[in-house]
């Protein structure tokens, strides 16, 4: 088992270290922008009388650093980055090895395909958790460095929600990598079929929430399920969305296992 985990780690470690670098850049950028943005928002509120109508979230952004972190990291950029890398970590496996001609060596190992797949997914899950933990650790340290107080409990809860629901994207990435053929084609097809709707629905629904309107499309806003409301409690957790994503994750994993068992290498 240890050797399988080591193999999966060796195959994905470049992606993992790149993700840490990307998370550092994203978190550092938004933390350093805080003071400048708050000054800008204060200025806008005093000079533009209509600002509060168009940007009702501004007073919250000025007064609450917790809201700022939630909005920029968990509801937008960190979440998008995490989803992108979770999908990229999940890419690989026997279907990709088949393209490189190394699949027979992996299949020659005295273990079942199912065990092989699950050990790889375990490494992907650990890497995804490590990426999220690293990002909030870095955010906490950088926030302390700029003398901002924040709720560590909120930060941890949002991270747990993001990872717990985001496992759907790991399962999706894994299935796409096995189903879509061709060099690099799997990446672009996955981004095309799932990444574009994910981003478009996220942006559209954020806009609708600012306007105070809701429509049927909000049920497909996976990004909002992953982010949750900015103040998380047992009552505000998106239970229905979580249940839906976990069911979908289970179905995708079953489909991956069945496909992996049947495919001829």
């Amino acid at each position: 088992m240890k050797m399988l985990l080591l193999k999966a780690w060796t195959e994905t470690r470049v992606r993992f270290f790149s993700s840490l670098l990307a998370a550092t850049v994203v978190c550092l950028y938004h933390i350093t922008q805080h003071a400048w943005l708050v000054t800008l928002w204060k200025q806008t509120l005093t000079t533009d009388p209509k600002a509060l109508t168009h940007f009702p979230w501004m007073p919250l952004g000025i007064s609450s650093y917790d809201w700022y972190l939630w909005h920029y990291l968990f509801d937008n950029y960190l979440q998008q980055l995490w989803v992108l890398f979770a999908v990229l970590f999940a890419f690989g496996g026997l279907a990709r090895e088949k393209l490189n001609g190394t699949a027979p060596f992996s299949l020659g190992l005295p273990i079942s395909r199912r065990r092989w797949l699950l050990s790889r997914l375990l490494v992907v899950l650990i890497e995804s958790i490590a990426l999220a933990v690293f990002a909030i650790g870095f955010t906490a340290i950088a926030s302390i460095a700029i003398h901002q107080s924040f709720s560590m409990a909120e930060l941890i809860l949002h991270t747990v929600l993001m990872v717990a629901t985001g496992i759907f994207f790991i399962a999706l990435g894994n299935l796409c990598s096995a189903l879509f053929p061709g060099e690099y084609l799997a990446i672009i097809l996955t981004l095309l079929l799932f990444g574009t709707p994910y981003l478009i629905v996220q942006t559209y629904e954020q806009h609708m929430r600012v306007l105070g309107r809701g429509d049927w499309l909000r049920n497909f806003d996976l990004a909002h399920i992953m982010a949750g409301p900015w103040q998380l409690t047992w009552a505000t957790l998106p239970w229905l969305g979580m249940a839906f994503l976990w069911t979908m994750t289970a179905l995708l994993l079953i489909a991956s296992i069945k496909h992996g068992d049947r495919i001829d290498y």
Binding site: T53, H54, E183
Partner: protein, 262 residues
């Protein structure tokens, strides 16, 4: 036994065609996927435009947003730009280094052509594909706008698309360079994500904003602030610098490939 080496230099054209054909075959699935992405993005933006503008203008009755401003800020300066960068980057991936990892490099190297010719053919194909990708919206935006009851001049769409394609060539050559450096299927894309992400965040920093390649791609410095139509001259200096940077990266890629032992 005699072995015939097909190194006849008097037939360069068929060889060149064969290399271009090879590059096209290898990248066409990616090209059509990227094209689908661009068409999807443009169609989505145009078909929601009426509803979106009505809603926006009801909130800002004194400063209504013109359709042309919606097209520039929503497509050329945002969604379309992002989709094109992604498409162009993916088109530049692949090549000898990757073939080295999959075991097919020796077959390619056995062809009676230099490594430089191989990279030129791949580069030319990727440039042609990415320019086609950039110019598709020039045709699509005026046509779809007409279908939704709006008008958008072809000349405006064409020049914005041209600017996007020429300045954005840097992202394509970054991709070619990364493909010459890394052999893993996911290493070059991940390195590319880091670079493109850094460029995006860097361009949002006010200190670096005037150097933003994304603004150059959307010709942000040459537009009318109210209509967001192209009014001033095209940013020729910026476009020339981008072309120079692209050529430099192409030559560095060639130098790397020529020295590498497969």
């Amino acid at each position: 036994m005699e072995t015939a080496l097909t190194t006849n230099a008097s037939q360069p054209a068929p060889l060149r065609h064969a290399l271009l054909w090879k590059a096209w075959r290898e990248s066409r699935a990616r090209f059509f996927s990227a094209l689908a992405l661009v068409i999807l993005v443009v169609s989505y933006a145009i078909f929601i435009s009426s509803d979106w503008l009505d809603r926006y203008n009801s909130f800002h009755p004194t400063e209504p947003l013109p359709y042309s401003a919606f097209i520039w800020s929503g497509l050329f300066n945002w969604l379309l730009q992002a989709a094109w960068i992604l498409g162009a980057f993916v088109l530049g991936l692949g090549g000898l280094r990757r073939e080295g990892a999959t075991g097919s490099a020796l077959f390619t190297l056995a062809l009676p052509v230099s490594r430089t010719s191989l990279l030129y053919a791949r580069g030319a194909t990727a440039i042609a594909e990415s320019m086609l990708l950039a110019l598709t919206p020039a045709l699509l935006i005026p046509l779809l706008s007409r279908l939704t009851g709006h008008t958008y001049p072809f000349s405006q769409a064409f020049f914005f698309s041209l600017c996007m394609g020429l300045a954005g060539m840097v992202f394509l050559t970054v991709s070619l360079l990364l493909s010459s450096l890394f052999e893993g299927e996911f290493t070059a894309p991940v390195a590319g994500i880091l670079i493109v992400g850094s460029v995006f965040l860097g361009s949002k920093q006010w200190q670096l904003h005037k150097w933003s390649i994304l603004d150059l791609m959307s010709a942000a410095g040459a537009i009318d602030p109210s209509t967001q139509y192209l009014r001033g001259p095209l940013p020729l200096l910026g476009l020339s610098l981008c072309t120079l940077a692209s050529l430099s990266m192409l030559f560095v890629s060639i130098a790397i490939l020529r020295r590498r032992d497969f």
